[in-house]
C-alpha cells in the first residue's frame, strides 16, 4: 500500500489585512488609525497526498493555492489545524525535512544574478552537504535531463527566461528532494519551454517517485501532469479527486459537426431525434451525451451518407473556468 506523504487536517490560515480609503482624507485617517481586519484565507481544509502522486491545485487568483503550498513547505505558520509532511511538522524546518523538499516559484529566483548558474549549483550543493564529486554528477545528470549545457556557465542576467527557469529547477533539485512544491513553474515561458519543463517533471517523477504538488494557470500543465486535482475556492476545497472524472462531470456532452451532401440531407438528419445546435446549408452541428456517443455515431454513419464529420471537445480552459467559480462539487 502506498503511504501518505502529506497529511493535512482542518488547516486554516488567517492574515491581518489593512485597508485604506481613497484620497487625502483616507490617507490622513490611515496615518493616524489603521483599519486592520483578520481575513481567513484558508478555511478548515483536510486532504492527504500519497507518495509519488502529482497533484494539481486549481483555483482562481487569491483562492489560497499558494498559501497552502507555503504552509506545506513550512514557509508560513498555520493559524489552526495540523500538517504532516514526510512525518515532519513543516514549520519546524528541521534539517532532515528541508533536505527532503523543494519549492519552486515561477519568476522568483534564487540564482545569483551576476554569476553563472554553476556557482549557485555548487553553493546549494554545499548547503545541502553534497560533496563536490557527487554535486558534479548530479549537475551533469540534471542538465542532461533539462537539456541545458553551456548555459550554466553564462551569467544568469544574460540567460533567457526559459534557460533561467531550467537553471532554477536544477538549483532547486540538486539535493534530489522527494517532495516538490511548484508554484506556477511555467509562468512566462513559451510553449516549447513549457512542454520541455512538463516532460522533465514527468521524467523526474517517474525516475525518483517524487511527490509533486503543483499550481498553475496553464491548464496544459495540469492536464498533462496531474491525475488528481484539488480545487480551491475562496480558501475551501471545492473538489478533491481525479481530473478526468471532474472533466466528464463538467462536460457531459460532445458536439459533432456533420457536412452532408445536400441541405436536404442535413434537414433530414436534424429531424432524426438528435439535439441540434445549429444548421447552415448542408452543415449541421448536433450535441450528443458522452455515454451515448459511440452508439449515436454508429447510427449516423449507418443511416446517412455524409461528406465529412468533426468531433468538437469543449475547450479545457472553458471547463476549468467553471471549476474556479463553483463552491462545491459532489461527484
Amino acid at each position: 500500500m502506498v503511504k501518505n506523504v502529506i497529511e493535512v487536517r482542518n488547516l486554516s490560515k488567517s492574515f491581518d489585512i489593512t485597508s485604506k480609503e481613497p484620497g487625502l482624507k483616507g490617507t490622513i485617517k490611515h496615518f493616524f488609525r489603521r483599519k486592520t481586519k483578520s481575513s481567513k484565507v484558508i478555511k478548515d481544509i483536510s486532504f492527504e497526498i500519497k507518495e509519488g502522486e502529482i497533484v494539481g491545485f486549481l483555483g482562481a487568483n487569491g483562492a489560497g493555492k499558494t498559501t497552502i503550498l507555503k504552509m506545506l513547505c513550512g514557509l508560513i505558520y498555520p493559524s489552526e489545524g495540523s500538517i504532516l509532511v514526510a512525518g515532519n511538522l513543516p514549520f519546524r524546518r528541521k534539517e532532515n525535512f528541508l533536505k527532503n523538499i523543494t519549492l519552486i516559484m515561477g519568476q522568483k529566483q534564487q540564482l545569483i544574478w551576476d554569476l553563472p548558474p554553476i556557482e549557485s549549483f555548487y553553493l546549494n550543493a554545499s548547503i545541502y552537504d553534497i560533496d563536490k564529486l557527487e554535486a558534479k554528477r548530479r549537475i551533469k545528470k540534471l542538465s542532461d535531463m533539462l537539456e541545458i549545457d553551456n548555459e550554466i556557465f553564462i551569467p544568469v542576467r544574460k540567460l533567457s527566461l526559459g534557460q533561467r527557469m531550467k537553471s532554477e529547477l536544477l538549483a532547486a533539485l540538486i539535493h534530489e528532494p522527494n517532495i516538490l512544491f511548484l508554484d506556477e513553474p511555467t509562468l512566462g515561458l513559451d510553449v516549447n519551454a513549457q512542454r520541455n519543463l512538463r516532460k522533465f517533471l514527468q521524467k523526474y517523477n517517474k525516475e525518483t517517485n517524487a511527490t509533486i504538488c503543483l499550481t498553475s494557470h496553464y491548464m496544459k500543465d495540469i492536464t498533462s501532469l496531474c491525475k488528481r486535482v484539488i480545487c480551491v475556492h475562496k480558501g475551501s476545497i471545492s473538489y478533491d479527486g481525479k481530473l478526468d472524472i471532474l472533466l466528464k462531470r463538467l462536460s457531459p456532452v460532445k458536439e459533432i459537426s456533420i457536412v452532408c451532401h445536400s441541405k436536404k440531407d442535413a434537414i433530414k438528419l436534424g429531424k432524426s431525434g438528435f439535439s441540434v445546435k445549429n444548421q447552415t446549408n448542408n452543415e449541421i452541428t448536433i450535441i450528443i451525451e458522452n455515454n451515448l456517443f459511440t452508439s449515436s455515431l454508429k447510427a449516423i454513419l449507418n443511416k446517412f451518407d455524409i461528406k465529412d464529420l468533426y468531433i468538437n471537445e469543449p475547450p479545457i480552459d472553458e471547463i476549468i473556468g467553471k471549476i474556479l467559480i463553483k463552491k462545491k462539487y459532489d461527484i
Partner: protein
Amino acid sequence: MISNSINRKIFTLLKVQYSNMLEYRVEIALWAISGIIPFFMLNIWTNNNLNESINISDVMLSRYFLCAFFVRQFSVVWVVFSFEEDSLMGKVSPYLIQPLNPFFRYLAQHIAEQITRFPFALIIAVFFFIFNPESMWIPNLKILLLSIISTFFSFIIQFLIQSIVACLCFWTEKASSIERLLFIPTLFLSGLLAPVASFPEYVKSWIYLTPFPYLIDLPANLLSGNTTNFRGGIGIQILWILILFPVFRKIWSAGTKKFTAMGS
C-alpha cells in the same frame, strides 16, 4: 563532522560571494572612497587646533583618523537594507527553506565585500602617507592582531544590531527606517567624527554603557597606538556579542512565525 560541514558551507559561501563582489569592483572602490569622512574630520581638527584640548599630538590624531577610516571600512554593515529588499521582493522565501540560516548568506556577502575592499583601502592609506609622511608608522604584530580581532568584533556587533532590526521586517515593511535612527548615535558616539576621549565627562560617563564607542573608537585607538584599555574593551565587545546574539535568535524565531511570504 558537523563543524566540518559548517566550515565547508561558509567557505563555499565566501568563495561564491567573493566572485559576486568582484563583479562590483568599481562600485566597491567608490564605496571605499566614500568612506573618507574621518579624513575630513582630521582636517577640521588640525586646522582648528582642537587636539590641544585633549592632549593628543597632530601625528597621533592623524593616525587615529586613518585607523578610524580602516576600522569603518571593515566594519560597515548594510544587512538591514539587503534583507528588507529581499524580503519585499520575495527572495527570502527560497532561503528560508534551505538548511542554512539566510543571515549566513548576508554575513558571507559582507566578509567577501571587505576582502574586495581591502586593496582599495590600502591604496587610500598609501595616498594618506604620501601627504602625511610624518604619520607613517608600522604597528607591532600583537597590536595589529588585537586590532583585527577588535575590528572583527565591532563588525559582528554592528551585524547583530542590524540583523535584529532587519528581523523587524517580519512585522513592518520598512525596518530600515529604524536603522536610520540608529545611524545617528553610531555616527556621533562611535568615534568616527571625534575620538571619544574628546567628549565631555558627563557624556563619557554613560557612553561606555552603550555599544557605540566599541565600534570605531576602541579598535582605532588600539591600532593607532593611543593609550587604551584593550583587555576591558575587547571583553565588553564580547559581552555585547553575547547579549545581542540570543536577542537576534529570539526575534528571528518570533519573526519567522509572523512571516507572510509576501512578494512571493
